[in-house]
């Protein structure tokens, strides 16, 4: 299960920001449907040069003013206030955290001929840690408290604190159940003013992760709906997509089984595309593993996925397709 989380985090982090509607049918990957880290910047065709993260209401006000000149920021309003009575143990036991995790990101881009404003939000509607996870987190927090006076002459044992905090933060990223929601819009105007802005692209994401700790299994459901609203692009057959993905992973001893399904409903062309694959990995030792995959790819020709191979480290030595 730990490897499943690692893969999820890796895929999440490597999510390409500029792919929402431009990808070809066969390019859609499960990771593309993850809730983006900064939804407000996903729809723009350019990356912000720098992103402000205001930590106080005053800095937040300055960030808003800077938008007029072409700037970007992201903020989680809940953490702008003091929260002086919110203890760590209270925080990890909260299940409904939409306000606490509500984050929004806004960027403006200006050139001589165009102006764009893009904005988005991301929030965790629900998250729940299991009793054993809560116990683990409380235990690590207590160990950190002890280590804060655990060094020589009562100084902080910084090496131990770093180790404990890394374990704690890794566990915080994998609640037994989480539901995330995000949305974003992009508006543009054909001049260097924001007055004539019209909506061009929009997108919504919803992710559900369920990983019961008593079983070595994890499930993920991902949904994304994206569309163009600009008149110039409306005629394109790729004007609206409903994408969804399902993934399951099971780990036992040295065997890992993963299955995924990715589907795209192209509403403009009234077509549905589907990819389904299953992957089995048997790890002989740390360096050698046997891998097999079976499934159906997008498209109608040459769409069968079959492969059998041996992996040495990160390199696939022998593969039969």
């Amino acid at each position: 299960m730990r490897s499943f989380y690692s893969v999820c985090v890796l895929l999440f982090c490597s999510f390409s920001q500029y792919t929402l509607a431009q990808k070809g049918i066969t390019d859609i990957k499960l990771a593309d449907l993850n809730v983006p880290v900064s939804p407000g910047f996903v729809l723009a065709d350019q990356a912000p040069a720098s992103i402000e993260r205001p930590a106080t209401p005053k800095a937040f006000a300055v960030s808003i003013l800077n938008l007029l000149q072409g700037a970007s920021f992201e903020v989680t309003p809940f953490w702008l206030s003091k929260n002086e009575n919110l203890g760590y143990e209270d925080w990890i036991q909260q299940k409904f955290v939409p306000l606490e995790t509500f984050n929004f990101s806004v960027a403006t881009f200006k050139s001589d001929s165009t102006s764009s404003l893009t904005g988005g939000f991301r929030t965790q509607l629900f998250r729940s840690f299991s009793a054993s996870q809560i116990s683990f987190l409380k235990g690590k927090a207590d160990a950190i408290r002890e280590a804060l006076f655990g060094g020589e002459d009562g100084t902080p044992d910084t090496a131990l604190i770093q180790k404990l905090a890394a374990e704690l933060q890794a566990m915080e990223l994998k609640p037994i159940l989480s539901v995330e929601l995000a949305g974003a819009m992009l508006g543009s105007s054909p001049n260097n003013s924001f007055k004539g802005l019209s909506n061009q692209r929009s997108g919504f994401w919803c992710n559900v992760h369920y990983a019961p700790t008593q079983y070595r299994v994890a499930f993920t459901g991902l949904l994304r709906y994206s569309w163009f609203t600009s008149n110039a692009i409306k005629t394109n057959i790729d004007s609206a997509f409903l994408d969804y993905g399902l993934a399951a992973n099971y780990d036992v001893n040295n065997i890992s089984v993963a299955a995924e399904l990715v589907s795209r409903k192209d509403r403009g062309a009234n077509e549905t595309y589907l990819r389904a694959a299953m992957n089995v990995n048997y790890r002989l030792n740390d360096n050698i593993s046997f891998v097999a995959a079976l499934g159906k790819n997008f498209g109608t020709n040459n769409n069968i996925i079959t492969s059998l191979g041996i992996r040495l480290g990160t390199m696939e030595l022998l593969q039969i397709r």
Binding site: A55, W79, E84, G87, I144, E146, A165
Partner: protein, 124 residues
Amino acid sequence: MEIKPKKLPDQLLTVMKTKNVLVTVVIGNAQIGSSRLKFEEETDAVATGKIKNQSVGTGRDLPGKKLNIITRVLDSNPRNNKISIKHIFHYEDGREIFILDETDNEVDNNMDIFSLEVSYQFTH
């Protein structure tokens, strides 16, 4: 991992002779912190760790003593770098004697440690 120290001037507290004096340390912003309570002339600490309703003595015994409190907070919350600490002195019935409000502190980076030190002297 930087340690940001802050030492405040001694605080003078007036306590009632007949009452037991308790200390509660509140760490906010979902951060993880720990405190050590130690009288200046003693070798052993009164308490170390999470401090809630910790008795430090009766109002009759406390005058003339100096209670040193060090509170260390690890910025383990990746969402902000704010550090919020409150030292609350109160009686068993919950009546407050004094609140030290240090709720507007900040460290530079995630995983830094904020260390607050303050001593309390008591009088009737």
